[in-house]
């Protein structure tokens, strides 16, 4: 018989909803964004507050049931170690392949003073690349 009071259940539910919301936003961003580099931003959302909310919910639930939420901390640690590395490798490969970017292409071979020196257009040429057939 669990005697977990309803206040804990409510907090856990709220954290789950927060996590689910930001994961959903990340997924919508993946569809809505227009080029590869913008899409790189979607997973960073999902892995921070998205997974974070779910993990906090799991920890609270675990503590309420007499279990320590240390595994969740490990998950956080592994995510924070691995996510930036994969994002960095993906973007390096994309720069190398000269994947079109809505912000123009940074000249990594030459010194640039400010980024975004190209006109901010709506990244029209990108469309042929990414969009999955509806």
């Amino acid at each position: 018989m669990d005697t977990v009071n309803s206040a804990v259940e409510i907090i856990v539910s709220i954290m789950l909803l927060v996590g689910a919301f930001f994961t959903l936003v990340g997924a919508i961003g993946m569809v809505r964004f227009r080029d590869f580099f913008q899409r790189l931003h979607a997973p960073t959302k999902a892995t921070t507050l998205g997974v974070g909310g779910i993990l906090i919910a799991s920890m609270i639930h675990g503590v309420a049931h007499g279990r320590y939420g240390i595994h969740e901390l490990l998950i956080t640690m592994f995510l924070f170690i691995t996510a930036p590395v994969s994002a960095n490798l993906l973007s390096k490969a994309a720069l190398h392949l000269k994947v079109p970017s809505g912000a123009g292409h940074p000249d990594v071979a030459r010194r640039t003073t400010t980024g975004g020196d190209s006109p901010r257009k709506k990244a029209k040429p990108v469309r042929s690349k990414g969009k999955p057939a509806a």
């Binding site: 960073t44 507050l49 930036p84 973007s91």
Partner: protein, 169 residues
Amino acid sequence: MSMVEHKTGRLWLAHPVLSLILAGSWLLLQRSVAPADLLAACVLALVVPRVTAGFIGNGAKLQSVGAVIRLLRIVLWDIVVSNLTVAKIVLNPLRSPTPAWVPVALDITHENGIALLASIITMTPGTVSCVVDQERRRIMVHALDCDDPAAMARDIKARYEQPLKEIFG
């Protein structure tokens, strides 16, 4: 202890903190302190730092605990705030983001500090560090929605790089 006299790469316990983290993580993953798991944890703690010594260099000495706490607070706060900012951009159908490349010139010299800075930039939504340019000492950041790259670079330097400089010395 004769640690200082040796080249760090040749020592079994050149990175005691790393060894502790490895052994601790292993035991937590296994959820047991059975003799076999303890043995495996010890082997990991001894072998992994030694094998990877060539990659991870000499490690760092923590210079300021206060700066660590400050950085942690700033980063956690920024993750929440920028998650909300990016969520607003994603969910507003009328507005499409204006992405920009933001070069962030580096003052920090410690390699681990640079790696940590790049990771922090990536983990805060709205910015991804794409190229860590060691030669020119800068990080090329892709910003999802940025009107003023210079201001954003200043912001990154003030909020993340300054505490990191204090931490790594």
